[in-house]
C-alpha cells in the first residue's frame, strides 16, 4: 500500500494466515446461510437467535439482522413467555448491547435496539439507565445520541413516577426535571462551552414551567436566574458561542406583523394598487369584490394581479414565484366606481420574505378611489381568523405583557453595555439586534423609536470602523435604521393593531391632491446603501435621494407615482426599474457610475427593443457618468422618441 514498508512474510506464515482467514470467512458465511435458512422456514427459534448474536457481535452494522432478532423475540421465543421470562430475555439484551456499545458509542442501531428492549421489558430500571447515560456523557459530553437518549430516559422516568403510587418511592415527578436541570448546571459549570448542555436546558425549562404550574411571576424569577447564569458565562468568556446562543433563546423573538400599508384605485388605469411593508409572494390571488354592504354577498371583480417591479425569487426547480412589495390588480371588466371596492387578503395566501413575519389576520381593505377624494379615510376590517401558529423559538420565555418584554430587553441591553465598558467593541451586533427587538416591542410613534434608531446608527458607525471586511453589511444595517427614522413621518400605527403600520392621513391627503410639491420627501445625504422598504414611498410624486451610496435603482419599479426623482451622486451602475413607470418625467442620474451604453439601453428599452409608453417624454440627466467621457453620445439617438437624454 502507499508508502508503507512492505516486509514479505515467509510462505508458511502467509499460508497459515490465509487458512485462518478462510476459516473465519467460512464461519461467517455459514452463519449467514444458516440465518437465511431459518428465515426461509420462518423458524424463530433459539438457534436462529444465537446466529444473530454471533453475527451482530462481529458486525453490529448488519442492520437487517437486528430486525430479524427483534422478530425472533416477539414472534418466536417470547410469544408465549410469562413476565419473568420476558424480563430475563430483555435484561440479557441490555447486557449484550452494553458489550457492543464499548466499541460503538455512536451507533444508531445500538441505541435504538436498547430503547426497543426497554420499551418491551416488563420492569425496566430507568434509574439505572440514567446512570448509564451519565457515564456515556462523561466520556463524551457532546455525544448527541447520548443526550437524545437521556431525554428519552428522563421522559420515561417521569411518566413512571407520575403513574406510580408507590409510597416508598423517594422521588416525585417534579424533582426529576429539577435534577435533570441540575445535571445540566453541573455540566455547564464544568465547561461553559458545553453547547449540548445548554441546549438540553432549553428543553427542560419549558417542562419545568409546566410541571410546577408556575405563575407568570414565578416564571419570570426563574428566567431572571437563567439570565444571571448566562451573564456569568458571557463575562467569563465573551468569545464562547454557547452562552450567547442560549442568551438568544432566552431573549426570544417576536413575530413581525406584516402590514398592509394601503390600497387605492386608479380609474384612469383601471387598476387597484396594494402595498405591503414586506416583499411578499402571492400563493393564491387576493379576492377583489365590489359592494356596499359588509356581508359576504359582494360581487367578485375579474382581473389579474402582478407585482410592480416584481422579481423572481430563487432558481426553483418547478416554478418561479414572483415577489413584490407593491401588487397591482388590472381589471378585465368595466365597473361603476360608485360602490366600494374591497380587497380581501388571507394570511395563508401570502409567503412572506422570511418566515418570522406574518400577516396576523385576514384583512379586508377598502380601496380608496383617488379621484374621489371625499372619503380619504381608508377603512380596514380585520376578521380575526385563526392564524396557524408559526414555530417561533421560545414563546414560553416571552413574557405575557408587552411592557415586561420591553423591560427585559432594556435590562439585557444594559448588561451588554456594561460588558462593552470592560471590553470595548465586543458583541456590538448582538446589541444592535436587541435594540431592534426593543424598537419592535415599543410602539412605533413614540420618541423612543427614534432615539433607538439613532443609537443603532452610532453602533453601526463603530462597527464600520472596527471591521473593514464587513462594511457593506453594517452600512446596510445603518441604512435600515436611517430609512425607518426618515420615513416615520409617512406612516402611523393602525388603530386596530398598533404593531402594523398604514399610510397616515397627511400622506394620503398629499397623494390625493396630486401635487408634486406636497407629496415629496427628501432623503438626501443620508448614507443610504439601499432602500429597505420601497413601498413606504409609494404615494410620493417627488423623491430626492441625491448624495447617497445606492448601487442599484431597481427599487424604483415600485414607485409608480413618481414624477421626479433625484439620484445624483450615488454609485449606480446601470439604469433599472423605470420601464413600467408611466408618469415619471424627470430623472437625475448625474455623477453616478454608469459606464457603458448597454447599461443605459438595457434599462430603457423593452426586450423587443420598443420603449415604454410614458405619458410625457422622460428627461434623463447623465452628466458626470463615466460613459460620457467616452464620447458615445451619437448612439443615444435610438431613444429620441421616448426619452430626452441630457449629456452635457
Amino acid at each position: 500500500m502507499h508508502g508503507r514498508k512492505r516486509v514479505k512474510p515467509s510462505a508458511e506464515v502467509e499460508r497459515q494466515r490465509k487458512e485462518k482467514e478462510a476459516a473465519k470467512i467460512k464461519e461467517y458465511s455459514d452463519l449467514v446461510d444458516a440465518c437465511l435458512n431459518k428465515k426461509d422456514s420462518k423458524k424463530f427459534d433459539t438457534e436462529a437467535f444465537n446466529y444473530t448474536t454471533k453475527i451482530l457481535s462481529q458486525n453490529p452494522d448488519f442492520y437487517t439482522i437486528w430486525n430479524f432478532r427483534r422478530n425472533i423475540l416477539i414472534y418466536g421465543l417470547l410469544k408465549d413467555a410469562d413476565t419473568d421470562q420476558k424480563q430475563e430475555a430483555f435484561s440479557n439484551e441490555l447486557v449484550f448491547l452494553q458489550a457492543l456499545f464499548q466499541l460503538n458509542p455512536k451507533s444508531y442501531w445500538i441505541f435504538n435496539h436498547r430503547r426497543w428492549s426497554l420499551d418491551n421489558m416488563p420492569y425496566p430500571d430507568w434509574q439505572r439507565e440514567l446512570e448509564l447515560v451519565g457515564k456515556i456523557l462523561e466520556l463524551d459530553s457532546r455525544n448527541f445520541h447520548g443526550w437524545d437518549y437521556r431525554r428519552y430516559v428522563t421522559s420515561k422516568l417521569s411518566t413512571k413516577m407520575a403513574n406510580t403510587d408507590d409510597e416508598n418511592n423517594n422521588y416525585s415527578a417534579e424533582s426529576l426535571t429539577e435534577s435533570e436541570f441540575k445535571f445540566t448546571t453541573t455540566k455547564i459549570n464544568q465547561n461553559f462551552s458545553n453547547y449540548s448542555a445548554w441546549h438540553q436546558r432549553s428543553k427542560l425549562l419549558p417542562s419545568l414551567f409546566q410541571e410546577k404550574n408556575m405563575t407568570d411571576a414565578e416564571k419570570k424569577s426563574v428566567i431572571d436566574e437563567e439570565f444571571d447564569l448566562v451573564k456569568s458565562a458571557i463575562y467569563t468568556d465573551p468569545d464562547d458561542q454557547s452562552a450567547w446562543l442560549y442568551h438568544l433563546w432566552l431573549v426570544g423573538r417576536e413575530i413581525r406583523h406584516i402590514s398592509v400599508l394601503g390600497a387605492y384605485f386608479d380609474p384612469r388605469g383601471r387598476e387597484i394598487v396594494l402595498s405591503f411593508d414586506d416583499e411578499i409572494g402571492m400563493l393564491s390571488p387576493f379576492l377583489v369584490s365590489q359592494g356596499n354592504d359588509t356581508t359576504d354577498n359582494n360581487r367578485k371583480v375579474q382581473g389579474n394581479w402582478r407585482p410592480a417591479g416584481g422579481i423572481f425569487k430563487h432558481d426553483q426547480l418547478n416554478s418561479d414565484r414572483l415577489y413584490g412589495f407593491v401588487w397591482i390588480f388590472t381589471l378585465t371588466e368595466d365597473i361603476s366606481t360608485s360602490s366600494t371596492l374591497t380587497v380581501t387578503i388571507e394570511p395563508s395566501s401570502i409567503v412572506p420574505s422570511h418566515s418570522e413575519a406574518r400577516l396576523m389576520q385576514t384583512i379586508e381593505k377598502s380601496v380608496i378611489n383617488i379621484l374621489n377624494t371625499d372619503n380619504i379615510a381608508m377603512s380596514t376590517q380585520s376578521k380575526s381568523v385563526d392564524v396557524e401558529p408559526s414555530i417561533v423559538p421560545a414563546p414560553e420565555t416571552l413574557p405575557a405583557i408587552a411592557q415586561e418584554r420591553a423591560d427585559l430587553l432594556k435590562r439585557e441591553i444594559n448588561v451588554i453595555k456594561e460588558l462593552l465598558d470592560l471590553e470595548p467593541d465586543r458583541c456590538l451586533q448582538t446589541l444592535i439586534s436587541l435594540l431592534n427587538e426593543l424598537k419592535y416591542a415599543s410602539l412605533l410613534e413614540s420618541n423612543e423609536a427614534n432615539l433607538l434608531n439613532d443609537e443603532i446608527v452610532s453602533y453601526c458607525d463603530r462597527l464600520i470602523k472596527i471591521d473593514s471586511l464587513r462594511i457593506i453589511r453594517f452600512e446596510d444595517l445603518r441604512s435600515k435604521a436611517i430609512f425607518e427614522k426618515e420615513t416615520a413621518s409617512l406612516v402611523q400605527g393602525s388603530l386596530e393593531d398598533p404593531k402594523t403600520i398604514i399610510y397616515n392621513q397627511t400622506t394620503l391627503a398629499n397623494f390625493s391632491s396630486q401635487s408634486s410639491s406636497l407629496a415629496s420627501l427628501s432623503l438626501s445625504s443620508k448614507n443610504l446603501t439601499f432602500i429597505p422598504t420601497p413601498s413606504i414611498l409609494l404615494l410620493l410624486s417627488k423623491l430626492d435621494l441625491s448624495h447617497n451610496k445606492l448601487t442599484s435603482m431597481s427599487f424604483l419599479a415600485n414607485l409608480i407615482n413618481l414624477r421626479e426623482v433625484n439620484l445624483e451622486s450615488n454609485l449606480i451602475l446601470r439604469i433599472d426599474g423605470v420601464r413600467e413607470l408611466r408618469v415619471l418625467k424627470e430623472m437625475n442620474l448625474k455623477n453616478n457610475l454608469i459606464s457603458t451604453f448597454e447599461a443605459v439601453r438595457d434599462g430603457l428599452l423593452m426586450n423587443d427593443s420598443s420603449s415604454r409608453d410614458f405619458q410625457e417624454k422622460l428627461k434623463i440627466h447623465l452628466t458626470g457618468n463615466p460613459l460620457i467621457a467616452d464620447n458615445i453620445s451619437t448612439e443615444f439617438h435610438v431613444f429620441n422618441d421616448t426619452y430626452d437624454i441630457i449629456l452635457g
Binding site: Y63, N67, F144, S242
Partner: protein, 366 residues
C-alpha cells in the same frame, strides 16, 4: 481574490489513486460497513467524476460490469404476490444478505434479512447515472410504492422497513430519489416539510429531529430536501438567520456544531447548504481551502481532521476514508476551483450528470 492551490498543495494524483484503489479494495476495517457498500461506490465514482478522470479510469467492460452489479442489488416485487415484499423494494447496499446474484435483481427477497435501504437507493441511482446508465432497468413504481411504507406519521422517514431510527437524513434521500425518478407521489410532502420545520432550533440551525441540537449534516439534508420540494421559503423560520448559523460554523474549515472541532466533511455539508441558500459567496474561501489542504493524507485521500489530530479515527494506518475524501473534493468543487467539475449541491453529483439525467434517462427525457 481567492488564490488557487498550486499543484504542490492539492495532491490530485494521490487522491485519484486513492479513490481508484478504494473501488478495487477496501481495508478490512470496512467489513462492518458492507451493508453500506453502495455509498462507498458513490463516494469514489462521484469523486473521480468531480476530478474529471472518471471516463478515463473505466474501461467499457468495467463500466458495464459495475452497472450490472448495481442492478443486482435491486429488490423487485414478487411476480405472483407483490404484497409479499413490496415494502422491501429498492436497492440494497451490497449482496450482504447472501441472496442469489442476478443482474436483473431479485424478486424473492424475504424480510427481514433482505430489504432495500433509502440511502442505498439514492446512492445506487447516483452511481448508475455516473456510469452513464439511462436507468431503464430501474423499477420506479416499486421504489415509489415502497416509500409509502417508510414514511412515519410525523413525516420523517426510516431508511428501511421497520427500522427503529427515523430522522431528517432519510427525508433527504426520499426527496433525492423522487427527483431522480421524476415522481414525488411516493410520500406526503406536507408532513415531511412539517417535520423539517419542527426540527429547527432556536439558533436557526436544523437538527436530526425535534428536540435535538442543530447540526451541520441535518441542516444540509433539510435545506436540500426543501430545495428539491421547492419549499425553502415556507420551510425555514428565517432564511437570513439560518445563513448566519451556517456562516458561524466557519472557523477556518467548518465545524458541525458550535464548539466542536473543524472537520473536512462540513466544508461540504455547510458549504452545500449555503450554496442552496445563495449565500456561499460569503464564505471565506481562502481559509476553507487552507484547512482542507491540511486534512489531506500523505497516502492520498482526505481525513476528517489533520492527521496529527486524527486520533479519533479507528483507522490508524489509513487516516483517510472515502467519505471525507469525497467531501473534501466536493467542497473544493463548490468553490469552483479550476480542475474541478461543477457540482450540483442539491443532489451532490456533478451538474453534467444531472444534465444527462434530464436529457437521456428514461424518467425525464421527452
Amino acid at each position: 481574490m481567492a488564490t488557487h492551490p498550486s499543484p504542490a498543495e492539492f495532491t490530485r494524483e494521490k487522491h485519484v489513486s486513492y479513490l481508484k484503489m478504494c473501488l478495487e479494495l477496501l481495508p478490512h476495517e470496512y467489513e462492518s460497513f458492507d451493508t453500506n457498500r453502495m455509498t462507498f461506490a458513490y463516494f469514489c465514482l462521484s469523486g473521480l467524476d468531480l476530478l474529471d478522470v472518471l471516463d478515463s479510469a473505466l474501461t467499457p467492460e468495467r463500466r458495464r460490469g459495475w452497472i450490472d452489479w448495481i442492478y443486482a442489488q435491486q429488490i423487485l416485487p414478487n411476480m405472483d404476490n407483490p404484497a409479499d415484499n413490496e415494502h422491501l423494494c429498492g436497492f440494497r447496499g451490497s449482496p450482504f444478505s447472501g441472496s442469489r446474484f442476478d443482474v436483473n435483481g431479485v424478486r424473492d427477497a424475504q424480510f427481514p434479512v433482505d430489504a432495500a435501504n433509502l440511502a442505498m437507493t439514492y446512492t445506487a441511482l447516483c452511481c448508475l447515472l455516473l456510469l452513464k446508465d439511462d436507468l431503464s432497468r430501474v423499477d420506479r413504481p416499486a421504489i415509489i410504492n415502497a416509500m409509502r411504507y417508510l414514511q412515519n406519521e410525523d413525516g420523517s422517514f426510516s431508511q428501511t422497513y421497520q427500522s427503529l431510527e427515523s430522522d431528517i437524513r432519510f427525508i433527504y434521500c426520499a426527496c433525492a430519489i423522487s427527483y431522480i425518478l421524476n415522481d414525488f407521489s411516493g410520500f406526503d410532502t406536507e408532513k415531511a416539510v412539517d417535520y423539517i420545520k419542527k426540527s429547527q432550533t432556536y439558533d436557526y440551525g436544523i437538527a436530526q429531529s425535534p428536540d435535538q441540537e442543530s447540526h451541520g449534516g441535518s441542516t444540509y439534508c433539510a435545506i436540500s430536501a426543501l430545495h428539491l420540494l421547492n419549499r425553502i421559503d415556507e420551510g425555514l423560520l428565517s432564511k437570513d438567520k439560518t445563513i448566519f448559523w451556517c456562516l458561524s460554523r466557519q472557523i477556518s474549515g467548518f465545524q458541525g456544531r458550535p464548539n466542536k472541532p473543524q472537520d473536512t466533511c462540513y466544508s461540504f455539508w455547510i458549504g452545500g447548504a449555503l450554496k442552496l441558500l445563495n449565500a456561499f459567496d460569503l464564505v471565506d474561501f481562502d481559509s476553507n481551502r487552507a484547512f482542507l489542504m491540511t486534512t489531506q493524507s500523505k497516502h492520498g485521500g482526505f481525513a476528517k481532521l489533520p492527521p496529527e489530530l486524527n486520533k479519533y479515527s479507528k483507522w490508524i494506518n489509513y487516516p483517510a476514508d472515502p467519505l471525507h475524501t469525497y467531501m473534501g473534493i466536493a467542497a473544493l468543487s463548490l468553490m469552483r476551483d479550476p480542475g474541478f467539475v461543477d457540482l450540483d449541491p442539491a443532489l451532490n453529483i456533478s451538474k453534467r450528470t444531472i444534465d444527462r439525467l434530464i436529457n437521456e434517462s428514461v424518467f425525464w427525457k421527452k
